[in-house]
Symmetry: D4
Subunit: 254 residues, 8 copies
């Protein structure tokens, strides 16, 4: 068989075009590909929910690649160990209740799980704004290519519609802040000091629908609530992602 | 149980310190975490070879995350389809002999396979130089944290020893060029024009030991040989990585 | 009627997708949207040739927008006046044989003419490399989004096939230089000193096929030939574009 | 005839100097060369109003060149279709009521129409401030070369006088904000969330004189009013430009 | 004896790893390696207190290296002369009561004294946040490699625990400002105008515990108190460092 | 009398326009406003030669403003003292034969002298190329606004014609290098080591016509000749400027 | 006589050192070398007042070098014409009452006049802060080399004492703003819209002592007062400088 | 006693001015404040040689502050242990013959030793060129403030004379390269691959006078000789510095 460059290009264009058009309307859009966003998306996908994960960077995984201070290991506590097992991440017990995994493996296994669950990834994609129509709920996102902004160019965005949006953008709680800045009834209080114990336990309850159609998970949940900052431990993130998936599925009646 | 921040930090430091010290001497160092480097490392690991994958960026995966022109799909031809199967990557047949996979999934599954095979990842790590002692062969690498160079700081590197080195750095063939620049008997001819058909078939034969102790794979192999540039198709990359793993294992007597 | 954001996005995606796929194989690709490239493309289009104009910047028009030293006027000599008329550009006679037009109008009218002639524009698109297969001729282009490079990202390109390529990239003669750099039998001599009189008359004869499948026009033609630099006068550019269109059409048997 | 470089330079200097001096006093200054500014200027010019269009960038056209997310197509709804016809822009019906045009053609045809209507373009020109004398109305603009600011140099501006000013600067509503910042009786509320349906219909009524002598059009009109953000559809922009032209002409008694 | 590169690397890794782990819990963390921080750390070390000095830059010494306006000399008044003697810094009397030392020597001798007193230095380390648990006191620091931030990367930090923290970060009073920004009961008033006489005498009394567990010294002390700015004279800095050491030791019961 | 902003702007535009048009053809263009260029221009102007001084920066004066290492004083030796007197620069004798002047005053007095002699200054103007027609001599310059290049914009230049050109661009000998780069019969050897004594005496003889129509003066003269570098003393510069003026006037028959 | 490089360096160092030490205490420090600062300093110097002019840039002259929009001409009205005469600046009458001068000549002649009047210039010098002691008046300045800040280095400043300080820093009114920011009883209202007529006449009355020991002149005077912005006309600047000189001299009893 | 800001400033200026003038002529100038430069300067100072150490950065110490890969420890082998003892640096034996010291302490103690030996430090000082007069030997240096270059300003340098110059600029061998670039009879071969064993032993013999008046030490010695690169071990550096001091002293007859 002879390879043809044009067929290769056409294959890429046709396949991705179909995905783009299919996901112009989707059940759920998760913004941010860190641990809580990935866990949430993977678990929604497993329930058969149509879910798009939108990541502004080229690679998925957020801040987890670098472990703690570039030492690529992460720690997970007892409560979340079952999620490591669920996603196939290997680990070692350091002290009773403290499990250490490799950050690179954890990222890869979470992404792989989300892919296997049917999640569609849109990387290099920045959310510029949200769509709120007469019903007063977040009904879609205004998106653009990330490099357009990095290059300082002025190009108009496109829009995608979704029934539920999950803000998994970390410290910045970017979607929540957009709504606050435009006068939506929502206040982002910002993280307080670091206190791992408290932050890890409270993040679950702060994971909720904070504005009609908008859920928040992971560090973004604590940032919105003015809760303590989380330490270099990832159990709370994964559990928060799981909780967000549960709440969203409930909302969608799945 | 109460979470303790110091225990978390100590867990990360102790675990990664052990990895760092363990890998100061290793069988193989693969430089570059793109498709050919990942395939090579995964297949070496499966054979029980101690293998470190060194990547200068924060995330692993190289240029594959973005697919073609930011449309996150990749194409693989018939010959390499079995490797997609081997690494658990799902795909769709576009036309007979042209299989399309998602770039994000492909990256994640390749990393996951390498992790499962016992490969150790060192990301944010730049190779500054190579070590060549009296035997005239590449016997180790001079490494540093990538952010040190990005920040324009002057900090001395450390060294790691390895029996075999694999240059999987893509177009730039960075390790090969270092040796050429310092007067080693090696010429990097640079890629020629794009011609996918030819480049895909020739990359396998250009995958070889190009200097005592140094193997080359993927686009770097074609760049060293002055071969044609590869199109947006990844079969040749994966097959080249497989071949490099075979040659290295042979050299090591595994 | 109610406006729907998703329909709007789908309309844009579907329409442009069709154009992208249609132009994966085209008769002619003109690289560079300055005056000679625009004239060449417009005149080819008028002859019914399928022609894509690829421009790396966001806007089309090249260096003509700013006139001379930001005074947005251009001058055209007697010989090329008929082309101003042909494209509907208004002008004023300054001295016998020197016609002054507005640079903004000239750009707009040239683009409008090319559009009316059926030329398809691909802006924000950078040509990274050329495709040369066994027949030794330029048979296609390796293209990428411009912002990808501006943002310093590493994303693979796609390829488009074309029967004829026109290098209209100005001073830099970028396509010709790519071929020279990769060892093609072609030398880019670089512009000599400015001498408007000579440069304007010689540019026509330097407009030709300089490598199998590759034509050169405008300032790029003089740069390849080592000819004098053109003054702030645009007649030679337009006439060179006209000549390139003629030669390409002849080659294609139109 | 022999071409003379000095005559060419003199022609450019003399012609543009006349334009500069002529437009030191003009009926209308439109700030911003996007779709609403261009439509407004073209329609004013057609009524015989002396009109200068001031654009800070080198090229005219604003954000329209890139279509939606770099897919160079735009959508126009039924209500504004007659303006596409008026400016000679070709289009295709995608679904009933949704017309798709090429973004490059649309820009070029709008500029061409404005030129044909006698509008004078001043590109690379930044408005630094406005002139308000004893009568409390915007009576002129303080302008400078754009590259002076880009290069971080300190060079004093010049002034131009105009009877009416049109703020067509998009999201930023830059002229309106200047007046607000300096204590003028005017509040720029900023755009609300995206809601295409509402934004498109309301932009017409928000197009008005917002401060003595200052009119606002296009996205700037919605930004001043705190109205919803417009989707990737251009009918409202064109209709707003038409309305601004009508209001300004009325004010001038044309 | 034969030198082995791997042994060298292992020696560095092992020794520094032990220091890192040892100092995950320490009595005192001094933030900032300027004159007051160095004096404080040296004097605490001499009392047998376990003390870590954390400096964000590569080199220790802060703003003292450059003397005044790059003339590398510093002045110390009569009251602090005994500290120059204590640290072994040589000087010359310029006028009665004004002693001039070399800035380079002063930095080196202060660091040497701190080293001899057992202080451990962590350079290239940035404090990103503080740890405040249920007891409402600063109980630790959230730290990261400085180059990570300089390179614009997103990598998670680690934490260290300490009984007392000393903010010796100069003008910026960075630790105090972190606490203020997150709602701690603390106000950083900012330096007032320069008045050396007053600033030098008041800095001693402003050196104190400003928040449970947090002490402030040197310019940071004056910045928190809204006190006058210090002139190019270093006696007050050294005396403030001495006072901070005294207060901290007292608190620790040493 | 009432001040009118438009009259002010018109006055500036009209007056400078006349200068621009008048100097499209001039006897002499001096490139570079450092000491040798200023002295040359002033002395040519005094002889009644029409002379334009073109300076790429905003301010005139080159490297002289900063004296030596930002200590704003310059030294002139006995031989050139009469030129300080001629230009009205005050000085003090430091040791016999060494006269010290203020750098700021020296610049201002040299510019003032050139203005009084009728020299026309074109600042913020960059020479991009030279014009060489059939007679093989430098007959003009290709010029552009400096900020255009600083801002990375692409705008075409204009041309000015001149009978003689003086390269006073310092170390870089920029005009000479342009000619060398484009294949003119001229070699720029580059400065040798610093040796003030030799450099100061030789610069006079290296001041000459180095290419038909092109003279070189000051540091550029030594750079072309491969002569020693000049110390922080300005006598040679001024004497070289004087010599250049003499040679140019002779050539012009004045 | 033989030239000696060391003698040249010593001459520069010794002479400037004397100036630096002499001006550690001076009657007046004028901050900013634009037209009003230069006029003020020159006229104070003529009255025998010891005066230092401190300029942050390398060259003196501020924004005047570039004329209006890089057309290097300035306009002066009838009232200030006598100051052009006084400083020896040549001009042409454009219309009755509007005199046009060359911007380059005007700068040079103003500096020359200030030098002849004995003003000492300190260029490349940034004022970082002011000194206010127990008497509550500005009694000195905290200064540093400008390049230190441009290079992002941290080096301590030095101080100079002066009886009167003149803020001639233009739009920014930097000295006034420093005092406002640190809580001094002073409000900088910022410039209002441009209205040349009013701004030119009011600037004289706004020229005054605005804080004990601090006078304000030129655009800074209007910025402090919230007055209208001045047009591209320089009479008001010169007259304001003259008035500032008068007020300062009066204060000093000269 | 009352502190006076002006006295403080005067003290700094007077003291450093004396140092500057004293060192305009010196026995030895060592360029570069890394370990070999510091050791060389300290040992020369101990022999009573007048020695200036010139460092381009703000802090002294070069690349040693960061240890290996930001782990601030260094290793020294048996042969050089006596130099650690001589300079008072504490260390721990890691394995027989491998001594580990803290990098921060090592830098500080080396500087302190040099200060105690009477070495004068000139930091923030860049060597731009060398002085070579009729005798063909390096007789001095052309120096400038480092921030001037960092800020992209153009300010002339000053010169200092010295009998011997020591190039201790590390990898770059900057002084040797300056001489090579300007045609001096000297070739800088560049470092070869890393081989610690060989590099450490050969550096001593490569430490020598490489051009009349110019000695080379440390990594610069190996770079000039084309010798192997040194590992992260500092014994060779210190011994090379000791040897350079010996050779220089011999040359000077001390």
């Amino acid at each position: 068989m002879t390879l043809n460059e044009v067929t290769i290009s056409r294959a890429i264009l046709e396949e991705q075009h179909r995905a783009l058009v299919d996901y112009l309307e989707t059940d759920v859009a998760v913004i941010g590909g860190g641990p809580s966003g990935l866990a949430c998306a993977a678990l929604l996908g497993e329930r058969g929910v149509s879910c798009a994960l939108i990541e502004k960077k080229l690679s998925i995984g957020g801040g987890m690649w670098g472990g703690g201070m570039m030492f690529p290991r992460i720690v997970v506590q007892e409560e979340a160990r079952r999620l490591l097992d669920r996603f196939g991440v290997t680990y070692r017990e350091f002290e009773p209740g403290y499990y250490v995994a490799k950050s690179v493996e954890t990222v890869a296994k979470l992404i792989a799980a989300a892919c296997d669950a049917g999640v569609e990834f849109f990387n290099l994609t920045t959310v510029e704004d949200v769509m709120v129509r007469g019903d007063g709920r977040v009904g879609g996102l205004v998106v653009n290519w990330t490099p357009v902004g990095m290059a300082g160019l002025h190009v108009d965005p496109l829009t995608v519609a979704c029934t539920c949006t999950v803000d998994a953008t970390g410290h910045d709680a970017m979607i929540a802040r957009m709504i606050e800045r435009k006068g939506g009834n929502l206040q982002v209080k910002g993280e307080s000091f670091m206190w791992a114990e408290r932050a890890e336990s409270r993040v679950i309850e702060h994971t909720k629908e904070i504005f009609p159609g908008l859920f928040v998970t992971g560090m973004a949940a604590n940032a919105v609530a003015g809760e303590c900052r989380m330490g270099p431990i990832f159990g709370g993130m994964l559990l928060s992602g799981e909780r967000a998936a549960h709440l969203v599925a409930e909302k969608l009646g799945r």
